[in-house]
Amino acid sequence: MIYVGCDVGSLSGEAVIIEDDAIVMHDIIRVRTRPEQTALEVTQKALAKAKMSFDDIDYCVSTGYGREKIPFAQSSISEISCHGRGAQWANPSVRTIIDIGGQDAKVIRVDKYGYMVDFVMNDKCAAGTGRFLEGMARVLGVELEDLAALSSGATSPVALTKTCTVLSQFEVLYMLNDGVDKINIAAGINRAMAERISKLAKRVGIREGVAITGGVAKNFAVVQSLIEVLGVEFVSLGDVDPQIVGALGAALFAKERWQKARQREATPAGGNKDTKNVCT
């Protein structure tokens, strides 16, 4: 059976194809103007790489910012549940997931089955999200990916006082102009990022087995500062790209739903009784 999970975020779109219990293929693209476009293109690319077509898909679940807009998905689930599910599948010891997306930062706690038991998400402010790092990279004149490398060997990381993503960009601009070393600024940025996320994390409470997902997970400097600030080690997700965990979770839910649908067909009566227990 072929299950597809499609995650359309605010910065990038991901698709994961699983067959039975293994990841067959995944792909990542930057978002297009409309979510359905992004979903279509990224899924097509993944299918093509796997030498498959849309007809081969048995069940598709969409997630992420544009999840309700994906025509070819049978149903949608919030990225919060999906990240939990995907990360716990990638490493069964995972109980807490820190997911840092384009404009959201989330901390998710899951049970031993990968079902989400609690979460927090940043509220009125985009500080501590991918947007924050993006803006900073722009000001520093480096690529987002290079922000991490830039900060290595920092002697005295600067303190960023502004919370506002926009205002702190100008704070950094002036630091640069006051001749502050880029290395220390970059380190300060990563530090600030980590501190903002740790504030969120403290709200739900960290449980052993912490995994980090989302694009920012690839920024090892932020990850390193997070380890320092939170005082925990992150568990590995094996060979699963941290950026596709949401889509992976969606694919796993796709499988679950396809099977549930099958059971229902098997027992047509008593549809409604268990609705409360179906995670849809």
């Binding site: 605010s10 409309r34 404009q103 009125k124 506002c164 926009v166 601009l173 640069l176 102009n177």
Partner: protein, 261 residues
């Protein structure tokens, strides 16, 4: 006498050379990275346009957020006063100035002599400033310049509710997702900007003539939105680029100082 006025703002640096019969030359350079270099570039441009050398300049004055990055000796002027003096010089009937810059919007009330009576700045929030327009333009994959052309009545424009520049962006994205035409969204942004500016004008009890300056003043959509909510005409100066008033004001203030000795 040749006076150089330099206004180092949040996203652009403006330089003018002011002579006995008005502005000789001006330059507007976008800020990126090293502001000192930006200032040097802008000054080089303007003196070459004016066909003079830096030594040929009698007085140099600076103002704006990044004034301290001007590498050469100069007189420092406060931006509020600069705007007031310049607006008064160019349009003597000015009683209210609304300067819509890259990061800060300022509403200034002045008397018939051009003296500042009171002013309010758009505090510590990037919503309702030029930078927000930039983010919006990015999200809409449009040119900031084209925003001004998109004028629709408030009711027909997309509603922008959020206070935050960053989430403004995400609100734009969700409008796009809901299939709202980019034009309506852009018009909606012009309105939300215009309305927040109107509020600032009202805070100092906007008396006419009301003159709009700063980069955002080039956006006719915003100007229309202000006029619509304020119910008054908002004047945009034709004789000078809206962005230059700070720099010009710096030159004029410096001139005064020199003349007073």
């Amino acid at each position: 006498m040749l006076i150089l006025g330099c206004d180092v703002g949040a996203i652009t640096t403006k330089t003018v050379i002011f002579g006995d019969d008005g502005i000789v030359a001006y330059d507007i350079t976008a800020n990126n990275g090293n502001l000192t270099k930006v200032v040097e570039k802008s000054v080089d441009n303007v003196i070459s346009k004016a066909g003079v050398s830096l030594d040929g300049i009698d007085v140099k004055a600076g103002t704006g957020m990044g004034e301290r990055y001007i590498p050469f000796d100069h007189i420092t002027e406060g931006i509020i006063k600069c705007l007031a003096v310049a607006a008064h010089r160019i349009h003597p009937h000015t009683r209210t100035i609304v300067d819509m810059g890259g990061l800060v919007t300022t509403a200034i009330s002045i008397n018939e002599k051009g003296k500042v009576l009171e002013y309010r700045t758009s505090d510590k929030c990037a919503s309702g400033c030029g930078f927000f327009l930039r983010l919006a333009a990015q999200a809409l994959e449009m040119k900031v310049e084209d925003f001004g052309k998109l004028i629709l009545p408030y009711e027909e424009s997309a509603h922008m509710g959020t206070q935050c520049a960053v989430f403004g962006e995400s609100e734009i994205v969700s409008h796009i997702n809901d299939g709202v035409e980019p034009e309506k969204i852009a018009a909606g942004i012009n309105h939300s900007l215009g309305r927040s500016v109107t509020t600032m004008i009202n805070r100092i009890g906007g008396i006419k003539d009301i003159v709009a300056t700063g980069g955002v003043a080039k956006n006719k959509g915003v100007i229309r939105a202000i006029e619509e909510t304020l119910g008054m005409e908002v004047i945009t100066l034709s004789s000078i680029d809206e962005q230059l008033l700070g720099a010009l004001g710096a030159a004029l203030c410096a001139q005064q100082r020199v003349q007073q000795g």
